[in-house]
Amino acid sequence: MLLASSVQVAQNVGFGIIAAVMVLSAFNVVRTQNVVHAALSLVAVMAGAAAQYLLLNAEFVAVTQVLVYIGAVMVLFLFGVMLTRAKLGKDVDLNNKGGTAIGIPVALLLLGVLSYVLIKDFKGDKLKVSGKADASVKTNELLSDKIFSSYALPFWALSFVLLAAVIGAIVLARKD
């Protein structure tokens, strides 16, 4: 039985619109013939994901998503497109020959299995999303407490991963 107050109409409508934009943009990323359009569609997917994080009360992750993905990673992608001298217009040679014939069945099978398992196992689980910060839970404070206490060692290891990645990228890409 569904009570009107437990359905959360506004959140559901907002979620639906953003989710539709995300899925359509994701299709555009994998189907378009233009590399720059693919990169810009990826921006739409990332921005939609950031909005979903806000809906899930994860403000810090949403802001990080905007800064790191939309800010840094997309610039890297556009640099990659420019530096490899991809055609900036339409390019018909972006897909594998048998890619569609193999890719669509694999993706559909995967989607079917995942949907079946998720619908079977999480049918009744409800989230009380508000989309606005709960004043009694200091989310950012708790997140920073976690990162610098119980997750300090992975955080430390991650900084080495980033250091190694930066040095590796420089070593790989330099000319000599």
């Binding site: 994998v30 990826l42 997917v45 899930l56 991809a86 949907s115 689980d125 990162i147």
Partner: protein
């Protein structure tokens, strides 16, 4: 809201990303598809984190509340590192062979 709305959105994005990895030949576009996959995982992690934090009360840093957020931050950082190294490799391949078509890199096929 049902948690399945978020989980099915994540599943759909994941499958689109897998299709992109299989169907694309351009190395930069394959990296973009991998980003789609990583983002879908982040949506899943945060949805499960929300589900879990509603079942368990928030009591200090030892509660599981926001563990999913920490994992999502780590995934974002690892994805940034992966894109940096991946694009450096793509640039190196392009410089040596004047193409980034993955079909042409078949020397290791016996």
């Amino acid at each position: 809201m049902l948690i399945n709305e978020f989980l099915l959105l994540g599943a759909a994005l994941f499958c689109i990303g897998v299709y992109g990895v299989i169907a694309r030949k351009n190395a930069v576009l394959v990296l973009m598809s991998i980003e789609l996959i990583l983002n879908s995982v982040n949506i899943n992690l945060l949805a499960f984190d929300r589900l879990w934090s509603e079942k368990v009360p928030v009591v200090g840093a030892a509660s599981p509340h926001l563990d999913g957020g920490v994992f999502a931050l780590y995934i974002i950082a690892v994805a940034a590192a992966e894109v940096g190294v991946g694009l450096a490799m793509v640039l190196l391949i392009f410089r040596n062979r004047k193409t980034i078509s993955l079909d042409d890199l078949s020397e290791m096929k016996g």
